[in-house]
Symmetry: C2
Subunit: 597 residues, 2 copies
Amino acid sequence: MINSRIAALRKKMEICNVHYVIIPTGDYHNSEYVSDFFRVREFFTGFTGSNGTLVVTREEALLWTDGRYFIQAELELKGSEIILCKMGEEDVPTIQEYLALNYKQDEVMGVDGRVITTSFAKKIKDAVFDATGFYCEFNDGFIPYEGIWDNQPKLPANPVFVLNGDLSGVDYKEKVLKLRKKMKALKADAIWLSKLDDIMWLFNIRGNDVECNPVALSYCYIDEDISTLMIQKDAVTEELSDYCEKNQIELIDYSECDFICSTPENKTILIDPQYASYRHKSILEKKNTIIELPSPIIAMKAVKNPVEISRMREVYLKDSAALTKFIYWIKNVKDKAVLNEYEVGRMVDCYRMEVDGFIELSFPTICAYGPNGAMMHYEATKESNSKLDNKGFLLVDSGGQYYGGTTDVTRTIVLGELTDEMKRHYTLVLKGMLNLSMVKFMYGCSGKNLDILARGPLWKEGIDYKCGTGHGVGYMLNVHEGPQSFRFKTLPGIDDSVLEEGMVITNEPGVYIEGSHGIRIENVLLCHKDIKNSDGQFMSFETLTKVPIDKEAVLVDLLAKDEREFLNKYHEDVYRDISPFLSEEEKSWLRSATTPL
Amino acid sequence: MINSRIAALRKKMEICNVHYVIIPTGDYHNSEYVSDFFRVREFFTGFTGSNGTLVVTREEALLWTDGRYFIQAELELKGSEIILCKMGEEDVPTIQEYLALNYKQDEVMGVDGRVITTSFAKKIKDAVFDATGFYCEFNDGFIPYEGIWDNQPKLPANPVFVLNGDLSGVDYKEKVLKLRKKMKALKADAIWLSKLDDIMWLFNIRGNDVECNPVALSYCYIDEDISTLMIQKDAVTEELSDYCEKNQIELIDYSECDFICSTPENKTILIDPQYASYRHKSILEKKNTIIELPSPIIAMKAVKNPVEISRMREVYLKDSAALTKFIYWIKNVKDKAVLNEYEVGRMVDCYRMEVDGFIELSFPTICAYGPNGAMMHYEATKESNSKLDNKGFLLVDSGGQYYGGTTDVTRTIVLGELTDEMKRHYTLVLKGMLNLSMVKFMYGCSGKNLDILARGPLWKEGIDYKCGTGHGVGYMLNVHEGPQSFRFKTLPGIDDSVLEEGMVITNEPGVYIEGSHGIRIENVLLCHKDIKNSDGQFMSFETLTKVPIDKEAVLVDLLAKDEREFLNKYHEDVYRDISPFLSEEEKSWLRSATTPL
């Protein structure tokens, strides 16, 4: 079936004089999660992972994916002609290297210019030019699935709702004024926005077109005078029309984006090359000057306003209480062998769904038992999951979207007997998590300066985890949000973002021992100004998450005095803030789960 | 006197149709220290500090300097018309901002194009253009002192010596081969070198034209075939001529640099804009394409080779022993009030001069008693210094140039009674120094990732120091060397350099309480590969400095267990390695100074 789809695609390539087709995973907005309409790469490969790019030539078909998916991709590609390219492995070229190696003069790349980002297109063009000296031609109107994918799902178009001031804190007019000031400082007359959460944040609206992200498919164009929101007709409610009229926002249909894009002339227009499609960039640059920069909204929305902060504090208490109830429940299941990961994951979701103000999950719940916990992005399914048992760790990483905030929390729960190594690893992870939570630092630090506080105790014993220590969290938006992060590596082209008062960020070190166990403890932190003196402005974190940390796995002797004291104080706060949400039985369990070490 | 010099300069400006004259502190090579010949800014201002830039217009004369020198500059400028511009203070424009604010169309900047760097000239031109829309004209042949400074000292020209393989470790031919490979990778046909320590390192030669830096005034031009060393005739010994002939190095007189610079055609030439003069850049770009990048030699020479490392280990032992002897001496002076800082500083220098292989100091010794220790760059003179007393701290920061390495070490020595605050501050500094020394980290970290280990204990108590935590150290070269450093701030345009095996770097946190006391403890670290496992390559440091740390100021209860153990192990090593250099009395004192805490 896959091979016949590829064959059909090749026929089309011949007719259209296209020599390479590049099919990434993203939607028109380079969103982290995509709706079924956009699963074109999946349609042509059968591979269901969340990251992968297919390249089809007249002779070959190749799929690039990352280490999380090597095993899964091998299984799912079996029987097809598609060759798996394991990203990051030695001797495996990157996509652009492959294209640069094979490209011959006058050959044409076929891409759906709406799903290829400006920066990815540039990478390919630069690589080909550097290697061959030829400017490679893009046919950006080549839609691979047209005429081949019969049962393609429809583009989602769910109604949008408007946040009132109690939820948004700052109204649209103030936000757009500030944005126009930033544009001016960057010498831009106009901005073209493609990133969905940027658009939602700016207009104080939310939608439901992307799984786990309360966003609506949309584009936005802003210049000195005009503010245009392009959104699907079916998403427009009366509330939204009224709101837009009142705020002088021009409402245009989503499908008119190319037309709107082609109207400005002689302007200097800012686009974010990570998100703006190659197609829109190509249209805009015909009659305008383009500045390619990260969208200024990314930094604006990362700093939460006082209303957002106070709503998040409330939401984190409720969300923490839900997870605490779950922990009480699982701890009290006598024979854990009757449970499996999938069911237990759904239990987590049920506790969360009962919370007042719940909208949806902020990402698919990870519920991983024993060795499965060592796979960072493990997802148990109804068909494939492990049974629990009265021993080892259960790792639960989960979060919700609520009216009033987005949550993300991980706990590693002791289900019974542990090895000494497990306890040691758990305690090292805990030390790191605590050290980062209690740091006091000078204003001007980025996550890069602080990351070692979380990793240090593990590094001391020759252990590392192959991911960042933390990411920004949206407000009723994406659970992964920039620009701030905790990581130690420099990523090319990505500036370290200074930690500002009002930023929210996760703190989630871990240990992942393949075939044995996985440990992660994750709290969400809010960055604050601390004391200011002649040496300058100090900063510190407030922990928003209030879920007990399983003391059964802690080797108390490994904790330094300040770590132990901080943990005891944390547990005191957890009991004080969460117990009002609990039943008497839950409360009395929480009391003992939070007694000082 | 100063005013009449400025008046003479203004007369010259009128004759030459120049409207602004910019006089920085540097020599032709942007060296950290300069010889008397280059003290032009000092001649026109009377200000003797090591950092300052004078701008003279037809109406005004302004001196910019940094916070270290505000008090001194105010004193030294008294009676002159020169206005002091305190860099970094609010409402004080930068030099380029001042010029941009005042510049009018067709006005001309007069500069000695040999002492203005490419990057500083660009900064000024960009600022003027951004603010006014005019390209400002530079007259780069305007030599401010010509015809005004009668008794200008001569350009120094001391004989050069060649390092043999036992000192250099890698011969010139191997170095230049590697450099040419790097040039090729950067797509450069040729390189123009201006930075003196880069040139010394490449040719394995050393000179004596700059105080504290064993370098000779020189330039270098390298392309695929030719290697040209431009150096003063008086610096050329028979040894050097023979060596250059043997190695196909073309020896040209230093004064021919402009001519050599004007010969290449149609080449792509790499220059380092931080060091290449505006004049040479202007000449080179007439007939060639210029690539502006940090000189590749900076990264090459930062990684010490095995011979350099083994020579440095030897030198650090001898240097540590000298300082230990000094500490024994000062500790045993009964009545410290008979001593002053200046004399004590000379004592430090005497102990060092007695060391076999000593060449010169690597920087002027800082010997600061009591409140003077709070001034980071304090330098006592014969005329102005403080008396010591049997209480408080004496801060001694010193180092030497030896055949076999360059040293840098700071100890804060207890002279008698201390306050509790002093002890607390001392212990916090010590904690930071120890934490950074004993860290284990993943390959890929830069100093920016690790800096918080040194600052963390101070930050926790709301204290910071306003400088980096550490800098690279040269090998028989500059005591301050890049590209690696320990700092937490991002400096614009400066990449964080990954810590590589073989890099040498100082670790020197401190506390500076104005009017009260200053504390700094500085060891020099050598970066090593540690274990490698499936998580990757770990790195750690070896401490080269072996000087006892004054235990009398340590509050043992503030030290964590691992800190105490590391300090005790360090002192064990100090005794083992240093005692062979000591007399019986010194040895028995060192034994008690290094007993475990």
